[in-house]
Amino acid sequence: MSNESKVTISLSVNGEPAEVAFMPHKTLLEVLREDLGLTGTKHGCELGECGTCTVLLDGTPVLSCLVLGLACAGHAVRTVEGMAQGGKLHPLQETFADLGAAQCGYCTPAFLLAAEALLRDNPQPTRDEIKDALAGNLCRCTGYIKIYEAVELAAARMRGEIAEPARESLYGHT
């Protein structure tokens, strides 16, 4: 539409070097989804309100709808597509799947990445610390509870503990 022409940048995407050309007004969200084909990153508002487009930029959770693609030149972006390694799910992906922390699954990539960043900085978070870390991410399906439980379970396993879901989480209270 405008007379802009594409720009090309180099960055690291999920640990691999990437070069991508895109219109310079595009957000990181748009570059990921439209120019890199990484549609695992979702959007709920494109105004920075819901957290659904969260990715990690140099390890820090950012709202990709508020970051310009251009600003990511030379930086490292991590998306949900990069979490499973060698055909094996990340421990957070395992526990989200086992506990039903993903219902419709639309907000899930964002929660997974925000939780991954939390656990890197704080391997044994309290329930309140988890709530604080995830307070910028909206989920309309789960009521967040299965997400907390999945983060706690993954945290325990990532610390090397042998941990299983609580019976009440899966079968209710008696």
Binding site: T39, H43, C50, V80, C104, E168
Partner: protein, 806 residues
């Protein structure tokens, strides 16, 4: 079928079949689809709440570089709508607009930016009409009419149903209590914005394919065929997994039809993804509802009669509104014994985004009213509210005054669970000022007994194919919206055939590939598609069993299907693998496939209006909320909710708990903060069409939830299963309201219970006024003569008394 004993898969907390796709980002939602040469569609939306369209000039937009097509209402003149009785929508407004956000033109261009720029070049001249921002206004002014159909003026629908001699029965009561309540509108707010992609294969194919985030591909299929004048056989609708629905993706939508037509005109794929603001205009959410209730009770709490009135603010279109209006009166009778019952319901058109079905569809509003009303009655009678409810429970296997057939009924157990778990007896009326507990109950349908357009065909169908490698594919029209419907199909088939659910491929929600399922609404899918899957699987099992029995030389009835094997129950070593059983059957009979289908039992009511309310089974929930109310700020915090839900039987207990927790969450939002608010001054503008300003609970507001699953199997459910997706939401709002009263002694008789309202009630009480915030009157409505239906207790047969005309 309900008595079948589950063993290996049913009831277990297994992973969902789509869990890995969802946690890896592999699930393809509608906006994740892209095709070569794809165009992008944008809709121009009305800036007037109510106006005639004088002219639309699209010439400049059409000339813009990159614009491939522009449509206006004239291009799509055939009306549509979800209900046969309210085909009142157009893909693009024809002659007038009815709310701010109503689409008037559609553009397809080579980029989203170009399409957006083209919208600015379209000139629409409006002739404004008087607009209405409330049902009271709409009733007061029959002209100008928002629609030229309905029950007079701006009243869309009026209902007046009387079961038994209600006034006489209320006259027998020891206490008669009247209350008024208001339930503010709120919206679904799915995290995924609606999106759709259309593709056209030109003649001689003449075939349209639409991928769309819909909960009801079958109804979208019908609407597209109608509006586009295409044979249904040349329309294929594929519902992509929904990124949340909650009822908000249950109508056929303007944008789906617009992209379809644009694809036909341009011959290129056309995609639209709504902005978050546009999702607020699609709405179809909870109707704002004013309610009046008058109930007679005996000293022991037994209800003698109830008279209930509701007035719904329908917004600008019909949507599901006629059904919603009936639902505000239908389910008052299935929890507590109401021997005589009078329901009057009205729905008015207003110039706001159209209301429709949100989780609980028309029943959360009256449930809020009824459960708070009962709390007040219990207090007046000096009876504990839990005791009052336990004394008046509807018995299982009974027929209500309005002819709803109740099957299994676990509400008593549910109440006992939450009363125990929450230490209710130690807390109720005993906690210090600022802390309180409240109790409420509810019930919900496990699917509507009748389809939207009446017919004699099944509501759900399943096809099943057995592969000689031992895999099984299940085909069903049901739509995965996050509730786990794909998994339910796999679990049920796996249980019957004794195989691993992950050896089953599930193909759903594609009108070309899958038999019809009516859609993911009214909590119908587990019961209905589950029963269809059960029938298909049992038929396949029979075929396989015959040939396995012959090979193994054992009687068919001695065979067990389990752990991927078919074997002699008395000699487990004597058996075959499941794949070998398929191969034997295939060699003998050819390709192995079966079908199953489900049609609900006919409802016992035969009066006009009896179509809304009947269900194969009713779920039950009881809830205790504990609250902390700050008397200085009016802020209500909810630390814990205890909920017990009678789900009949869990197909997957973890999924059931997930639905319960999600329902509590959504109910908490409705109780405390969520509201569709409009500026009612000059124009009826939505105040807050954004995720930031439309307040919904974050992790910081969400309460702890203690869930108890009560399993009272219903003979109509697959393995006894009943619904869970909607019912547990219903008691949350009244439980919180009742708890606020227990905490600070004021009644907020409307939701959301905001700090402002709590403070206002507290200040009023401080000044010696009634400590209450809520509606003060119910407007006069020109009700039609009641349809009188004698109750079963009176010897009625479900039919209305013939009206004698003088």
């Amino acid at each position: 079928m309900g008595t079948r004993k589950p063993s290996r898969v049913i009831g277990k907390a297994l992973r969902k079949v789509d869990a890995v796709a969802k946690v890896t980002g592999a699930t393809r939602f509608a906006d994740d689809l892209a095709f070569p040469r794809m165009l992008y569609c944008k809709l121009l939306r009305s800036t007037e709440p109510h106006a005639r369209i004088t002219s639309i000039d699209t010439a400049a937009a059409q000339r813009l570089d990159g614009v491939q097509a522009v449509l206006t209402g004239r291009d799509l003149p055939i009306p549509f709508g979800i209900l046969p009785v309210s085909q009142d929508e157009h893909a693009l407004c024809l002659d007038k607009v009815r709310f701010i956000g109503d689409p008037v033109a559609a553009v397809a261009a080579t980029s989203e930016e170009t399409a957006t720029a083209a919208l600015d070049l379209i000139k629409v001249v409006y002739e404004p009409l008087k607009s209405f921002d409330s049902p009271e206004e709409a009733i007061a002014h029959p002209e100008p009419r928002i629609h030229d159909y309905g029950d007079g003026g701006n009243l869309h629908k009026l209902i007046n149903l009387e079961f038994g001699d209600v006034e006489a029965r209320i006259g027998e009561a020891d206490l008669v209590r009247e209350d008024l309540f208001f339930f503010e509108g709120n919206t679904h707010l799915p995290m995924e914005q609606h999106a759709a992609v259309a593709m056209w294969s030109p003649p001689p194919d003449g075939k349209l394919t639409l991928w769309t985030s819909t909960q009801t591909p079958h109804y979208v299929h019908r609407a597209l065929a109608k509006v586009l004048e295409l044979p249904a056989a040349r329309v294929r609708v594929i519902a992509t997994p929904n990124g949340g629905g909650f009822g908000g993706k249950s109508d056929p939508f303007n944008h789906e039809i617009a992209v379809a037509r644009l694809a036909m005109i341009t011959g290129r794929p056309v995609k639209i993804t709504l902005t978050r603001e546009e999702v607020f205009y699609c709405h179809r959410g909870r109707h704002p509802t004013l309610m009046w209730v008058r109930t007679g009770v005996k000293r022991d709490g037994a209800i003698t009669g109830m008279h209930f009135r509701s007035l719904l603010d329908g917004g600008a279109y019909g949507s599901y509104g006629v059904a919603s209006t009936y639902y505000t009166g239908a389910l008052q009778t299935v929890t507590y014994n109401v021997p005589s019952y009078h329901f009057q319901g009205a729905r008015a058109f207003t110039n706001k985004a159209p209301c429709g079905p949100k989780r609980g569809h028309g029943t959360p509003q009256p449930r809020f009213a009824l459960e708070v009303h009962l709390d007040k009655i219990a207090e007046q009678l000096g009876i504990d509210p839990a005791e009052l409810r336990l004394k008046t429970l509807v018995p299982p296997n009974s027929l209500t005054a309005n002819y709803l057939r109740v099957g299994s009924m676990g509400l008593g157990t549910c109440i006992a669970k939450v009363v125990d778990g929450s230490a209710w007896k130690r807390k109720f009326r005993k906690l210090p000022l600022g802390r309180g507990v409240g109790l409420a109950c509810s019930s919900y349908i496990s699917g509507a007994g009748l389809p939207i357009y009446w017919n004699n065909m099944p509501h759900s169908g399943v096809q099943l194919k057995c592969d000689r490698g031992g895999g099984v594919t299940v085909f069903c029209g049901s739509t995965e919206i996050g509730q786990g419907s794909d998994s339910i199909l796999a679990y049920i088939v796996a249980e019957v055939l004794g195989i691993d659910p992950f050896d089953i491929a599930v193909v759903t929600a594609d009108t070309d590939l899958t038999p019809v399922d009516l859609g993911s609404y009214s909590s119908r899918v587990t019961l209905m598609s589950g029963n269809a899957a059960l029938q298909a699987a049992e038929r396949a099992r029979q075929i396989l069993a015959v040939h396995a029995a012959e090979k193994l030389q054992v009687p068919v009835e001695h065979l067990t299907f389990a752990a991927g094997r078919v074997f002699d129950t008395r000699d487990r070593k004597r058996g075959l693998s499941f794949a070998e059983a398929v191969q034997l059957a295939e060699a003998a009979e050819g390709t192995i496939g079966t079908v199953g289908s489900y049609t609900p039992p006919p409802g016992p009511g035969k009066y006009r209006g009896a179509g809304v309310g009947p269900s194969p089974a009713y779920s039950y929930s009881a809830c205790v909320a504990e609250v902390e109310v700050d008397p200085e700020t009016g802020i209500v915090r909810v630390p814990t909710i205890w909920i017990a839900h009678d789900v009949g039987r869990s197909i997957n207990s973890a999924s059931v708990i997930g639905q319960v927790e999600g329902s509590i969450y959504m109910g908490l939002g409705e109780a405390l903060m969520e509201e569709m608010a409009y500026r009612g001054d000059l124009k009826v503008v939505h105040k807050i069409p954004s995720l930031l300003e439309y307040k919904s609970p974050t992790t910081l507001e969400m309460c702890d939830v203690i869930t108890y699953l009560v399993e009272d199997p219903d003979p109509n459910g697959p393995f006894g299963a009943k619904e869970v997706g909607q019912g547990p939401l219903l008691p949350v709002m009244p439980a919180v309201a009742n708890a606020v009263y227990d905490a600070v002694g004021v009644r907020v008789d409307e939701v959301p219970i905001t700090p402002e309202k709590v403070l206002k009630a507290l200040r009023g009480k401080g000044k010696g006024e009634e400590g209450r915030v809520g509606p003060k009157s119910f407007p006069d409505i020109p009700w039609p003569e009641p349809t009188r239906v004698p109750t079963p207790e009176e010897g009625g047969d479900g039919k209305a008394v013939e009206r004698v005309h003088a």
